[in-house]
Symmetry: C2
Subunit: 209 residues, 2 copies
């Protein structure tokens, strides 16, 4: 596909722009571009405009570093939320996923990634320092570490723990275990092992069944 | 996923723009948009610009209706090509696919689709009239019908045949048969049946082996 011949430079530019997106090859890019060509001009201009505006005007919340249209995001400025509990997540998608569960009413802190020396992501390039700095002034009582269960996630958990343990607050992590709907025989042995060690009281009223 | 909550309207607009592309749902759209947010501002502006420019400045060749940067496309204006043979195709991708084989040196005629009453595509919305009109003035000797082997493709073939048969030129269609590399036992019976009826002389020198 590298030697593909385009009948037009404009077409080629648009296709190559699309191929820079993750998971989009030349064939898919061509299909998307030809789809856009068949749309009304106004729609295509809105599409281009939405992307450029997003990049130039998007803000990050000064408190939690989540994506926001304003200086302080809707979650941080929501008076209904519990302000003494912080959930530490990797990125925006994780905030959206947790919000979608409607089970959490506290605040967030978006790190912007996890520590990964292989990808050149050091603690300094993440929002860890700002996390440590907001705990005392904001009277945070509990920090929930909700990072991925990967080597990088565990490393980051440990690094954050070392940074904030001396502040004397409660530090928790989300429960690891067998996913709802999964069968035991197909669960990996580490997850299954941990789920036995960290077993919880069977309580029908709390939903632990 | 319909009740998904976005932390920002700008983000939501960009994601919803992407979901209008074929085969891109909200999760993929979000992934693409967040990828763009991590890119340098200049790159994102180029991306948006490439798309808007494409839509507003693209031309269609006046002779063959292929996508082009100029009034007459590179293929039609190429003096090295055989000008008395026309290959009728559905769209731009088909021109690119045939050009990629490097086996055809004639000209093209892009219909812009195939007749499909179900999708509201009538012969009048395709470039069939313009095809019939260019045959005599351009001294076309042969028309190759290279449409998909679908009901719609066959209908369109037949319609074009009826339109141009009286001009007394040669009308051919691309060979249907077992694809190179395919095994007979897995071929469908219509293809296999046709490949026996339309068998060709075994000729090592012409590549028919």
């Amino acid at each position: 596909m590298n030697t593909i011949q385009y009948p037009s430079k404009l077409l080629k530019n648009a296709v190559l722009s699309f191929t820079e997106l993750p998971g989009i090859g030349q064939k898919t890019a061509l299909r998307l571009v030809l789809h856009l060509l068949r749309q009304p001009r106004e729609n295509v201009e809105n599409f281009g405009h939405a992307i450029v505006t997003l990049r130039s005007e998007i803000k990050y919340c000064k408190k939690c570093h989540n994506i926001s249209d304003t200086e302080i995001c809707d979650i941080c400025s929501n008076k209904q939320r519990q302000t003494d509990i912080l959930c530490v997540v990797e990125n925006v998608q994780d905030v959206m996923a947790i919000e979608n569960t409607q089970q959490y009413k506290g605040l967030y802190h978006v790190l912007g990634g996890v520590i990964s020396p292989m990808d050149g992501i050091s603690p300094g390039s993440l929002e860890i320092e700002s996390l440590a700095k907001r705990i005392l002034p904001e009277n945070i009582r509990e920090v929930i570490l909700a990072l991925s269960t990967t080597m990088e996630g565990d490393t980051t958990n440990f690094y954050i723990y070392k940074k904030i343990a001396h502040l004397g607050i409660k530090i928790t992590t989300i429960a690891r275990g067998i996913a709802v709907g999964d069968e035991l025989e197909y669960a990996d042995e580490i997850t299954l092992g941990r789920s036995i060690l960290n077993r919880i009281d069977f309580n029908f009223n709390k939903g632990n069944f």
